[in-house]
Subunit: 241 residues, 2 copies
Amino acid sequence: MPPSPAIAHVKALTFDVFGTVVDWRSSIIREGRALGARKGLDRDWVAFADDWRGLYQPQLEKVRSGQLGWTKLDDLHRGSLNALLKKHDIRGLSEAEIDDFNRAWHRLDPWPDVVAGLTQLKRKYPLVTLSNGNVSLMMHLARYAGLPWDAILGAEPTRHYKPQPECYRLTAEYLSLPPEQCMLVAAHNSDLVAASKVGYRTAFVPRPTEYGPGQRENLKAEHEFDVVARDFQDLAQQMGC
Amino acid sequence: MPPSPAIAHVKALTFDVFGTVVDWRSSIIREGRALGARKGLDRDWVAFADDWRGLYQPQLEKVRSGQLGWTKLDDLHRGSLNALLKKHDIRGLSEAEIDDFNRAWHRLDPWPDVVAGLTQLKRKYPLVTLSNGNVSLMMHLARYAGLPWDAILGAEPTRHYKPQPECYRLTAEYLSLPPEQCMLVAAHNSDLVAASKVGYRTAFVPRPTEYGPGQRENLKAEHEFDVVARDFQDLAQQMGC
């Protein structure tokens, strides 16, 4: 099926990663349980994972607002982790063990359709990360999960966290493309709306269990996006791959 | 063979690209000849290729010195190309044809040992470009030549052209590694010396015909580098891959 006229000029696909490409929640729960088993810590790792992600936007906001200078996501994650270890009464971990647990974010499993879908899409399009994750995090995650990115861009190389417009605009500039020739693929309505304001084409792929069985947001596309796909393999088909 | 103690702590391999990974000279000559055949232009494409590369360092120096603000290598190449079309009396090309010829730098062939060597090295190490080429150039070149990079770093994301120390230092910072855990692989003594001053480990791989049959520089390692390898497959073996 040839792509529709609205997307015929797309020259590169950019991807949100946490939630869209990888299932961070199940993976962080798994990492927490493994740590708990090793250290004899019987804790609520589901609540721990949700708490950790819950501190994500407030931490990013400190950087966006200028309250905090540029800080990599790895370091923001570590700040949150220090606070949560106290909150959940987790004691007796060495610095090396805490560092390793912080790198759980480098070991997130992709959704089942992702690797096959990206492999199809890569034949026709360069595939580029447009994530708030820092470069080394994204690189390790790609090696862990087998994600065939052509380039790692997004927050760190642009020094702006999404949804700041500079993050999308400067990513297109790195690609030497006008924003209209870039498409963002994401499972979050707000991310796509921010990208489209800069001129990006948009593709929504729902991940209705990203936040667990009780998820109430982002269950479906709430705006007129250029593509709405069931999963990455459906996206590949709709993009004419 | 296990790696020597000096390189046991290396966590990422960074690569010079033009000359070290790809044979730019033969490829540009080939592209020139193809253009000449299409347009009926009988010109000395060997001299043209050497002239084009001859303007490379003077162009970079304009940016390094601050005479010119940050400018992507694609745009510097285009400035040189405009001058050389006049010098070699090449007329009658459309803007689109000149743009396409400028993108000859996105279609450079790898040396014969490169893809097999990188594939071996990638099993153990993240592979990262540390080139003066801009991100989109490097990305297109990787897709053309089948280069399995894990990340594209170097000049554009650091806004400094090699051999400025910031280019090496900030590339290590993107990798979240101290420079001592990064190795630069290059066919040019001066590039390796500049990297080692910042703390990088170094690997020299000779490319004795990069500048054609009469090449007189960089025929061998002229300093005490951590590794001297015949080619990328030998490098993989020496790195314990």
